[in-house]
Each structure stands twice: as C-alpha cells, then as structure tokens.
Subunit: 296 residues, 4 copies
Amino acid sequence: MLCSTRFTLSRFPVLYRIFHTGSDGRIMAKSKFEYVREFEADDTCLRNCWVVIRLDGRNFHRFSEQHNFSKPNDARALHLMNRCAQNVMQELEDILLAYGQSDEYSFVFHKKSNWFKRRASKFITHVASQFASSFVFYWKDYFAEQPLLYPPGFDGRAVLYPSDQNLKDYLSWRQADCHINNLYNTVFWSLVQEGGLTPSQAQERLRGTVAADKNEIMFSEFNINYNNEPLMYRKGTLLLWQKVNEVTMKKIKMPQEAEEKEVQVTRSRSQTVPLHCDIIGELFWEEHPELLSDTS
Amino acid sequence: MLCSTRFTLSRFPVLYRIFHTGSDGRIMAKSKFEYVREFEADDTCLRNCWVVIRLDGRNFHRFSEQHNFSKPNDARALHLMNRCAQNVMQELEDILLAYGQSDEYSFVFHKKSNWFKRRASKFITHVASQFASSFVFYWKDYFAEQPLLYPPGFDGRAVLYPSDQNLKDYLSWRQADCHINNLYNTVFWSLVQEGGLTPSQAQERLRGTVAADKNEIMFSEFNINYNNEPLMYRKGTLLLWQKVNEVTMKKIKMPQEAEEKEVQVTRSRSQTVPLHCDIIGELFWEEHPELLSDTS
Amino acid sequence: MLCSTRFTLSRFPVLYRIFHTGSDGRIMAKSKFEYVREFEADDTCLRNCWVVIRLDGRNFHRFSEQHNFSKPNDARALHLMNRCAQNVMQELEDILLAYGQSDEYSFVFHKKSNWFKRRASKFITHVASQFASSFVFYWKDYFAEQPLLYPPGFDGRAVLYPSDQNLKDYLSWRQADCHINNLYNTVFWSLVQEGGLTPSQAQERLRGTVAADKNEIMFSEFNINYNNEPLMYRKGTLLLWQKVNEVTMKKIKMPQEAEEKEVQVTRSRSQTVPLHCDIIGELFWEEHPELLSDTS
Amino acid sequence: MLCSTRFTLSRFPVLYRIFHTGSDGRIMAKSKFEYVREFEADDTCLRNCWVVIRLDGRNFHRFSEQHNFSKPNDARALHLMNRCAQNVMQELEDILLAYGQSDEYSFVFHKKSNWFKRRASKFITHVASQFASSFVFYWKDYFAEQPLLYPPGFDGRAVLYPSDQNLKDYLSWRQADCHINNLYNTVFWSLVQEGGLTPSQAQERLRGTVAADKNEIMFSEFNINYNNEPLMYRKGTLLLWQKVNEVTMKKIKMPQEAEEKEVQVTRSRSQTVPLHCDIIGELFWEEHPELLSDTS
C-alpha cells in the first residue's frame, strides 16, 4: 500500500523531507498519469447540421410484460415517456422539439446549437441519463398502484441531418413507423383479446394484408373504427416549446403611498406542449414556420 | 391532417382503391423516408483496446447542496454511487471492473468485448441511463429520511486505451485525483467546520501548502490523523467480480427411497465486490493477475 | 524461412500429405490473419454535404527557391497547378468545381456524390496522388528548360459543408486569402526587386498598412496599377465543367450509294475551363445557377 | 466584379475613404468567412497504436496492360515501386518499415509517432502524394525505353493496430496474400504462355487445386521449381532502416602544420534496405528485436 504508513512517520521531523518528497511525488504522479487524457477523441458534431438523439428502451418487451402494460398501448406508460421527454427538454439546452412513440423518443438539437461544443457524447449521455432518471422519478405519478420492479435502461444514438428536408424526412420516417406498427398491433390484439385467436393464429391471419384489409377486419369483426383510436396512439407525441403568460398577484409598495398595493404581474415563460398531429407532409411545417427559420 | 378523414371514406367501396393506394402509399412513404438511416455514422471502438466509460454527475455541486450532503464526504451518497455502479456491472455485459470517487465513476469494458459490436454510443448510453435510473431507484435505500428533489443527470465519455499500461495509468490518474482532492477537502472543511474559518479564509490558509503541511494542520489543530480517515474517502471504490458459492438446502426425492431428503446444494455465481485499496503501482495488478490475462 | 525447403521435399510422394497440409496451412494462415481487416475504421462522409478536399504543397517555399520560381508569382507554376487540377477533375468522379491559388487547390465533390461510398480516405488519397503524379508528369510542358530536381509532396484534408452558403463562404475565404496575400506579395517584391530594399526593410515598410496604402506605394513608387495585374494572380483560378461541341469530319458509306462520303459529325463532351473571376458575393452564383441546383 | 474599378478611383483623394473602407471590408470579409475552418473534423489517430498506411495502385490492371508489363511479374515495375517507397520513407518522418507486393505498399508509422499530431489525413496524403510523384519521377530509371503514358493514381487508407501482435498479423496477412497470388499467377501464366492454354482454360485447369497441385503442374509440365523463383516475387519486399558508415577522404589543415593533410572521415547515416524474407512467424521478429522495442 503506497501510503499506508505515511502519516505516522510524518510526526518525526527527521523524516519530514522524505515525506515531503513523497507528497510531491503524489502530485507528480498525477501529472505523470495525465497523459492518458490525450487518448480522448474529439467527437464534435459537424456544425450547421441538425443533431437528432434517439433513445430506445432496453428490453422493453420484457419490461412491459413484467409491469403488466396493457396492449397494444398503455396510456400510463406513454404519458410517462412524454413526461420524461419534457423534463429532458427543460433541463438541457437547445432542444427544438422531440417526437416519441412506443418506447422510443427522438430529440432534435438546433443546428446552430453550440451546447458543450457540440460534443456527441455529451448530447447523448445527458439525454439518456436525464430521461432514465426521470423515468424512475415520475413513475409513481403514472403507475400509482404498480411498483417499479427494477431500474430500466435506454440506449441512444446521435444522427446528423444537414438539410431541413432531411430532418423532416427523419421525423416522417418515425411517424410512418408509428402508424404501421400501431395499425398492426391494434388489429393483432383485437384478434387475440376479442377474437380469441392465439398470437400465432393472429399473425397468420394478418400475413399479407394491407392497411385497408386491417381496417376492414377491425371494423367488421370488432366494430373498431381505427380512425377513432386515440391520436396519441396513431400519431405519437410531438413536443414543442410554447410561450405562456403567467398572471400572478403581487404586493408592492409605491413610494408615494403609505400602504402596499396588490398588482397583477404577467410573466412570459416557455413550456413544452404535447401535440398528436400529422408531421408527414408539408402542412405541419407551413403552420410552424418558426421551427425552421433562421437556418441557412 | 393527412389521415383524419380516411377511414370514414373507406366504408364506401367506390373509394376503396383510393384508400388502398393510400395505405400502400403510407408504407411506400416509410420506405421513401428510410434513406435517413444512412446518415448514421459508424462509431465502432477500435478493436483490442480497453474501452473506458467515465460518468460525471451533472451540476452535483448544486445537487449536494440541495440534498444537504455532509462535507467533505457523504457516506450515503458514496454508497449509493457504488450501488448504482454495481447495478450497471450486473445489467450490462463485459465490464471488467469499475472505479468511482466523488461524483464520478469509470467502467472498463474488456478489450476483447464485442458487445453491441463495440459501438461507442451503445456503451455510453447504456452505462449512463442504467446508472441514472439506478440512482433514483436506490436513493431511498441510502437517504431514507431525505426525499430526492428532482431526477439528476450524468454526462459520459468513452476513451480507448490500447495497452494494459495505459489502462493502469488511467486508473492511477483517477485515484491520484481522488487522493489530492480528498486531502484538500478534508483539511479545508476542518478549517471551516471546526476552525471557524470562512471558506475564503480556509482557501487562503491552504494556498501553497503541500501534502505534509495539510497533514500537519489536521493533526496539530484538529487532532485528525488523515491516515485514519475511511479508506473509501481516501482511495475511492474499486468494483471487481468475485465468484461466490451459495449454499442452499433443497429437498429431493431419491428413486430408491420413499421419502424426500434434504440436501445441501452449492452453486457458484459472480457478484461484484467493493474494494478500497491502492491501485497506483504494480502491487495491485500483481495480486490480481487474472484481470489483465488473456490479452495480447 | 518458412517455405525454403518445401518444394524439394514435395517431389517425394511419401511427404506429399505433409506438404499438402502445409499449403492448406498457408491458406488457413491467411484467413487466420484476416481478422486485422476489422480494425479498419469507417470514414464515410456525412451524406448530403459538400465534400471539399484541399491540397497544399509540402515545403513549397523551399521548392520554389530551388526551382527559381519568379516572385511574387510564377506563371509557369500556376499554369502547371491548373493543369494538374484539370487532370484530377477528368480522372476522378463527381467533382463539381475546383479553386486554386498559390500552392493550394480545393476540389468540391458534389453533395450527392456516392463515389467510393463517400469514404474520406478514398477522396483525399485519390486527389492527392493524382495531383502529385500529374505535377511531375506535366512539369516539362511548363518548365521546358528547368529540370525537376525531386518529386514534391502535397498534404490534403477533407472538410464537409452542409449548406450551399457554407460552401460559398469556404470559396470566398480562399479567394479573400488569395487577394490579401497577393496584394501584400506584389508590393513587397516591388520594394525588394525595384526599390532595392532588403526583405526585412520591406516588411518594416509595410507594417500596419492597409490595402489603400499598398496600392498607393505601388502606383506612386513603381507605377504599378495593381488592378492591371493579371487576374490569375489576383483572383486565383476556378475550374468549371463546360460542354463543348467537337466537330470532326468522318467518312461514311451510305447503303444506296457506291462511294464513301465525308460528313461532318458533332459530338458534345465535357471539359474543364479555367476562370479568374470574383467568387466572393452572389453575382457569380447567380450567373451559374446550375452549380447549386438539384440540391435540397 | 468586386474590385475591377477600384484602383483607378483611388487616385482621387476625395474617394480615398471609400476605398479605404473597401479594403478594410476585404480583410473583414476574410475574417467573416473564417468560420468555415470550424467545420474541419479532428482525425487524430489514437495514441500508442501502430499506424499503417496502405496504398493500392488505381486501375493498375489496365495500367500494366498499357505499359506492357511482363507477366506474372514485371521486375522493373516492382523495383520502381520499391524505389518510390524508399523515397517515402526518406522524405517523411517516423516510418519504421514498409512492405510491398504487387501494386500495393504498406507503411508503418511508429506507435509513438507524433508527426503532424498524428492526423490521419496528413499521414495518408503525404504518403500517397509522395509515392505518386516518385512513381513518375523515377519511372525513366526503370523503364528507359518505355514512355509513361499518363500519370497514375493510388488510393490509400489508414488502419490502427493497438498491439505488436496485431501489427505482425497485419504484415503476415499481406505476405500470405502475396504468396497465394503469386503461386496462382505463376502457374496460370505458365499454362497460358508456355502451355498454350487460353486464360479461361488455364482458370478451369486450376479450379480446386491446392498449393501442392500447383507446384506439381509447374514442375512436371514446365520444369519450374517454384522455390527457385525470385524471392522478391514470392515474398514481396520489406524495407528496413539500416545504419551505414560512409567513409570519405577530407582535406584538413592542422594548426601546427603548414600543409593540408588528407584524412579519412567516417560518418554514420541511415538508409533503407530492401529484404525479401519471410515475415510470417516469429523468427523474423526475433532476429530484429529493435523493431518492436521501447513500446509499452
């Protein structure tokens, strides 16, 4: 042990210099080891590109079984995911919007962001850790009666998109994925839960069907109009920033007056709002021109 | 809204083909957008290198103030950090060891690991999210009387070390950092808490002192023998794998016998154990030759 | 020596199997070593970005001294550089344009290019090697009386630009650099060559001067109107593709006619043309809308 | 044109300020554009790893046809390749050794090298351009009667190897490749050139044969003992540094003596030497312990 007998010796003045040397040695030791910092690679994201961080739940199939999630969608779980994503947007910097569906969430950092010098590892670990800690923290607000059995994990990746069109297509890709999966899952679980089929029978029944066939099965056999299914299930959730005015009453004392007076104070602050609208196609972007402005 | 009136229309056979086309279109749409996947960069870690993932608490200075951590060390917080790191080692694959001190933790993936094809983003997001969710999950086990006020964040980075010596030097660097900071913090908070100095007076008092001076101040003024301070504070915590034998009693029925019989069953499993020893210098590695064997 | 006595033995049938095994072993050996290919990193350039490769002459200060380049500009050397760049554009794929000045040349690969799967190492080594071999190959066409003393080197780098504006600004940056250096060099060498100053006196004389001062010195002392200096020196060289019609005479035999007939054949092909115009500002790009079209 | 009428105006004092502003504007313009430098990515090679740069001739199949290379090996071309590689080793820094065969050459930079801060793009473009310019420059020394028709290109890549064993295996891989190809090519061209087979007949004849079969064909049909083929063809070429003593005569005048006296002066310098030995297996490395020493 390097330092185990050090201090007892140091009480004897004659050994002081040795010890002194030893302590310098420890500091020198640190500087001797510091060369290992040079092995860190620079992972700066290319400038002027949209930085998308996408998280996916780790083994969430198993996780949803163990926590008795309802199928094909568990509203509590989706709302919890949205709550975590809102926390991520509030705690971190420069996130323009986020989009989530199923057990995944994508966060879009502004193309002009210089947060942590655009280091990819900073972006993805801050997002992943803040989302994961929020998931446990807010769990009880959505699963009051259902204890969390173990702390879940999430994996993440960073992807760069140079043009606005690339970014729109990325978000369209995730929403198209949401649509296709949710349509399939909705009819699949109708066949199983209402129709009494086994999962493999349901799978067999759906082989080769297109969207119209699936809609037809749901409507004719289970009286489900897919279009009336909740928008959150069919479209996923988009989180945008919104300015809101907070009106509060405040007591102030005017110089010329003897008594305090209560006045109304309006403060503007930004908060995130969830939307469940279509983001495939140009309409959404035309209605929100501010999102992609000031980018050239 | 792209699909808002879709299904109501689809009840009219004459429009079926349009809708059908639409649904194909949606699937086609997805494949049309899928080109965005090609923007993902390959972040494979160079093979045959040690992969070190280091996490740091985000704004933990503020966090420790708000949660009334004792100074200079809060044993509950350190034990919680260790607990989270153990969970990370158990949940993820191929972690050889971990080393933690203060609000940071380093995880060493084996140089031969091919977990998730060695993708750096997978390594760091799994570690960061598992650690963060564990932190909230296990909080109450260490801070029973103290509620967690908000979900904390952690940032992480991946660093590659080609040689065993580089890895040893990395760990030595972190332990030397632990030593230097803890020595300083211990005397600093003695001066403030016991000596009645203000923080800036304490800082002034310590300016230019070497280790021997600090030891001397602690001993002569506060009767603290730094060497008797807890090892966890002075050395940090190293987590290693250890095979343990679990002995359980089990009832079995032998073919020739009428009655069940209770027998002792021994099972071997791996668990992580915390050590607070010196890892600067060769002694530790000589005592644990298995750690760096089979690596060429 | 692994295989030195192999074949002599192989004449003896009894040893055949041993040798056979040996030869299999050699092939097995190769496959045993092939794992080293997995250490190659993926250096794909992010899609939908302009890929700029810039070359710089290595130690061209020394090179120009040893080959008696005239100062401040050597027309032969600049024309040779342009010739090499034209060869690069013709031999490689997907280069939209190139810009050169002094001993540097930048090549812009199209943002949609998928040449060699956009691998950065392929882009830069092909450009660097083709330029360098061309430099030696075409040297005698520009330096007839002056032998090349040794083969020169060039270093290169790849830089990605996501937006058209970024690309324009890159080219503007290089041309602004050309302007500033050439203005300085022109007056500097006038002071030395015509004015009889030493280089350090000339340097001193120019300290703190702005462009107008330099123009004034050239005009009043050396009767040089900087604006009449050759455009290639002041603006550098831009290489663009141009469709040209080649008219050739060809003898063909018509089916109905007895004799061959000479006809005029027009073929269109692309060639590179050098321009020495201003590329700072929008005018150039407005006059060449085709360069940045079809990019979104 | 931004600056076309500038100077004529500058003769009129009243316009001076405008012009002056203009010139400042140009310098400001440059600094305004300089942000584009931040798009350069850091491509530093991980420290403490061997850096291997491998070049391959571009379209050398066509090149060798057009320049009438003899088959299966053209000694002139191989010696020219070696000459180029020697020039690369002499001109650049920190190259430990090089290995070439066919139209490829690998250069090994020392794992401790810090040349150009270990930037991969610097390594590969310097190697590629120096090799390519040397190829044209030294061509006439090896192909006196045969003019070079056009400047050839080379592509290159950088690969990092963390351990000495990885490096040895890389070199073994390339030499095993040399052996397998050369054995095949030698018997293939014997069948075509001596045996009168067409290339496709020769290919058919060799399908499924192992090394012993090929040796047997060469020996029994063409009286070729493959083992007597030149080592350079069978083993490729390894370039190592060697200290040599140069002895020259020099006239010096001693202080005490009236006349100049001729003395023998010995100077040591490093030069590259070509070897054609086996580098698969440990023997070579045992005989050259200096190559991999001082690396930990």
